[in-house]
């Protein structure tokens, strides 16, 4: 006798228990601590903070631990946590010109004020597996930090180009209106540049990397140059109404990438270089660079360029950049769809029997 | 009065914000879904004079720092202060900025065309009006039909302008754009979404 499938609750409980056990792994092996993840999986923590839209290294480490290292799952955890936190206010815009630099490079000039400060980067490593890391070792000793450099001695490359009038100037709109807050309001099209940048900052690194790459391969090429990449510490300031001046509430690490792109001009304007911008929490250069390439591509319509490639299409890019939306909807195909499928099955059978009957009649 | 005395003079809001807001919202949702049905707010709130219970409760439940409220001229300053204090709502100086509008009595209702109606692309970006009337037991009888109503329903409201029905039905030509209305009398509430037809 057919018995309707029951026990969904029990199945879920068992699944959760299995998951917890799998996440922990072999109980003989020491458990990961949040400090270990924060310190030694630093770049995963940075990515989770960036796409999770929360700057909190411990929370990001916790999310990574709970997600067994699955970055997208960790981003999801952080976003869900963030979603219902009270909003206390907005900070001032950070000033990357005042950044305490750990790294600063430019591909557009061989040498420039402030110099090329390589900082910690994988760029010069050879990708040879280092088996000495398989065992614990004496912690490496960092070289002595260079003397703290005056921010004024390391001007931003874009500011240097702007001083000569060579680069488009990006001014806030009339009245400097507050940008939309995509964490609270839905996206609308047409989306202005601040809104697009916000979307890209939270966007999945893999998706943006592929789109940025596509522009380099001819899908709306923009002749990009990495004018400057900065990584370091910036101050976060708020300006409470009662005080009337800004106070620092802490500092965070950010990576900023400014791209210089193909010059545009018009009948009434001298040609200038155009620009692309990328910014993320922690040390995420690949993301910042990809973001800058896509930012520039999305300015196509505003610059009067033909829109010919996906990276230039705001609806396409911005509607698919969020890893939560993408993975949720792809994964939802695992949910029961047997009623919809049943409807299709019934139609297909009906159509086939009708076609067979028609063929039989004709014969 | 000093600031502390000012604050002390403002009446209390919901005694249990979470559950009171939810119950009031459900009452508002119910009457807007069923135009002509009279809903009741069964709460006691220490409201300032000039603010009906159903109006105060509805606004306390729906307003916050993300909404702009327009007040008709004879809404007492105490009411304005009370609502701003409890909801942190922003003040709409002009009708064109208003998400919500509180109208002290029917004589102060501006022409419906003066409110934000939304656009063809975004008809939802429109004002919700809360209009205080003296009762639902006397006055003119209005026969209603449209979504939410099985066949016909009716309401009895005193004091609405003679042109109100003509004005309301004329706005219906611009559907889906329009404004939505809550009528309140004491602790009672009636909803008139823009889709409701009022028989002339």
């Amino acid at each position: 006798m057919y018995v309707a499938v029951k026990g969904g609750e029990r199945a879920i409980e068992n699944s959760l228990a299995l998951l917890a056990s799998q996440r922990r792994g072999d109980p003989q092996v020491p458990e990961l601590t949040l400090q270990q993840i924060r310190e030694q999986m630093r770049l995963a923590v940075d990515r989770v903070m960036t796409e999770g839209s929360v700057y909190d290294e411990d929370l990001a480490a916790l999310a990574l631990k709970q997600a067994a290292g699955d970055t997208l799952e960790a981003v999801f955890l952080l976003r869900a946590y963030r979603a219902t936190l009270p909003r206390l206010g907005y900070t001032q815009a950070i000033d990357t010109a005042q950044m305490q630099l750990a790294r600063r490079v430019s591909a557009t000039f061989k040498d420039l004020p402030g110099g090329q400060l390589l900082g910690p980067t994988y760029d010069y490593t050879q990708r040879l597996l280092d088996f000495s890391l398989a065992a614990a070792a004496e912690p490496p000793v960092a070289p002595e930090s260079p003397m703290e450099v005056e921010a004024a001695a390391v001007p931003r490359v874009m500011d240097l180009l702007a001083a000569e009038g060579l680069i488009e100037v990006c001014q806030p709109r009339e009245g400097d209106p507050a940008p939309a807050d995509l964490t609270r309001d839905p996206l609308h099209f047409p989306a202005d540049r601040p809104t697009r940048l916000q979307n890209l900052a939270r966007g999945d690194e893999g998706f943006l990397l592929a789109l940025g790459y596509s522009t380099q391969r001819g899908y709306a090429h923009s002749h990009p140059f990495a004018a400057e990449i900065r990584f370091g510490r910036v101050e976060i300031e708020i300006e409470p109404d009662e005080l009337g001046f800004a106070v620092s509430i802490g500092d965070i690490d950010v990576t900023e990438c400014q791209m210089v792109n193909q010059f545009a001009g018009s009948a009434t304007e001298l040609p200038r270089f155009t620009r692309g911008y990328g910014l993320c929490f922690g040390h995420c250069e690949r993301k910042a660079m990809a973001m800058a390439l896509v930012d520039r591509a999305l300015c196509a319509a505003e610059l009067g360029e033909d829109v010919v490639a996906p990276a230039q299409m705001p609806e396409f890019v911005l509607s698919h950049s969020d890893s939560l939306e993408a993975s949720g909807f792809v994964a939802h195909l695992k949910l029961p769809h047997y009623v919809d499928f049943q409807a299709e099955l019934e139609l297909l059978r009906r159509m086939r029997s009708r076609d067979i009957a028609t063929a039989a009649e004709a014969a | 009065m000093n600031a502390a005395q000012d604050l002390a003079a403002i009446g209390t809001g919901f005694s249990d914000a979470i559950f009171d807001s939810q119950r009031v919202f459900r009452a508002a949702l119910d009457v807007l879904s069923r135009p002509g049905k009279i809903g009741e707010i069964a709460l006691s709130i220490d409201l300032p004079r000039g603010l009906h219970l159903a109006a105060g409760a509805t606004l306390l439940a729906l307003l916050d720092q993300d909404t702009r409220l327009w007040l008709s001229p004879s809404v007492p300053p105490d009411v304005a202060r009370y609502l701003r204090f409890h909801t942190s709502c922003q003040q709409a100086v002009e009708l064109e900025q208003a998400d919500f509008a509180l109208i002290a009595h029917p004589g102060e209702l501006p022409p419906l065309a003066a409110f934000v109606q939304g656009t063809a692309d975004f008809p939802d970006r429109s004002t919700t009006i809360v209009l205080q009337v003296s009762s639902f037991m006397e006055g003119e009888r209005y026969v209603l039909s449209g979504p939410g109503i099985a066949g016909r329903s009716d309401i009895t409201v005193p004091g609405l302008d003679a042109d109100f029905v003509a004005g309301w039905n004329a706005r219906r030509r611009s559907l889906p754009c329009g404004v939505d209305l809550f009528l309140v009398a004491g602790n009672q509430l009636v909803g008139l979404p823009r889709t409701t037809r009022i028989e002339a």
Binding site: L345 | L29, D99, P176
Partner: protein, 295 residues
């Protein structure tokens, strides 16, 4: 034959507290107010998709977060909640969502359609007719009925604004030309109050007629796409069709093998590896209620 599960017919004991390290119903009050304002506008503009600031929820986008946000914004201690997926209370998604609300609200839950005041559903409308004190909350994956024909939101918004739905009529016309009939079997588009083209969510076309002039309020939440829409009670909901090709939902030659219902949506269950099949009611509460009433 198994005795009917009577404990499932009575609401579970009301828990007077929920897990208080959460906000009641998970969402903060400011988010709830934003959603409540959107719901009111949705009711005032039947079938129109109101954009709202959908929040990241503890379940993934695409798994019912829109329905959850709507339910979370309307539900209160006076409610009795039923959650179904594919018509069943016991599928994994329904269980998960019901547990979520039990943990975050402590509200009474039930498997009985008749006993519920709020019913959250994925892809089915209950067979038992609803009444005026009930609210049906649909989980919607793709709120835009035109999306598969035109993915750009700027374009579809304009079409809705102008009531320009030729694209859908052409699609149906092409189906008829190619297959002899319309081949949409679920998520079959409807016209609401004669004005907006609406996606009823992926309910089977079989369920569409239940939406028309329903005494209950019907709310639709799409979390990933960030839209809420509504069909007020007693509102016209008409499935698109042509005069010479009227709307024709599914029918079966079989009846339910358990309760003998001939009027419900039937799931096909494969019983052996030789093509053996049987049909049973998709709506488990309906089937169980009929079984219990059978002499």
């Amino acid at each position: 034959m198994n005795a009917p599960d009577r404990s499932a017919l009575a609401p579970a004991a009301y828990a007077s507290t929920w897990e208080t390290n959460f906000n009641f119903a998970y969402l903060d009050e400011r988010s709830k107010r934003m959603i409540r304002r959107a719901i009111l506008k949705a009711v005032a503009i039947p079938g129109y998709q109101v954009p709202f600031g959908s929040r990241e929820m503890p379940l993934p986008y695409g798994w019912g977060t829109g329905g959850i946000q709507v339910t979370a914004s309307i539900i209160g201690p006076d409610d009795v909640l039923k959650v179904i997926d594919q018509g069943a209370d016991d599928t994994v998604n329904a269980v998960n969502i019901r547990r979520f609300f039990q943990r975050t609200t402590g509200v009474r839950t039930t498997e009985s359609t008749a006993a519920a005041t709020v019913i959250q559903t994925r892809h089915r409308i209950p067979e038992v007719p609803l009444s005026a004190h009930q609210i049906l909350v649909y989980q919607v994956p793709v709120p835009e009925p035109l999306q598969r024909l035109e993915p750009r939101e700027v374009e579809t918004r304009r079409m809705h604004g102008l009531s320009e739905y030729g694209l859908m009529h052409v699609k149906f016309y092409e189906d008829i030309a190619r297959y002899g009939h319309i081949v949409t079997t679920y998520d079959y588009p409807v016209m609401v109050d004669g004005r907006y083209l609406m996606s009823p969510s992926p309910i089977p076309a079989f369920d569409n007629p239940k939406m028309h002039m329903n005494p209950a309020l019907q709310l639709f939440g799409a979390g990933r796409e960030k839209r809420i829409y509504a069909v007020p009670p007693h509102t016209a909901v008409e499935s698109l069709a042509f005069d010479d090709y009227p709307f024709a939902p599914q029918r079966w030659d079989a009846v339910c093998a358990i309760c003998a219902a001939a009027d419900s949506f039937l799931d096909e269950v494969i019983t052996d590896d030789r093509g053996g099949r049987m049909h049973v009611c998709s709506d488990t509460d309906y089937c169980r209620t009929r079984q219990a009433a059978a002499p």
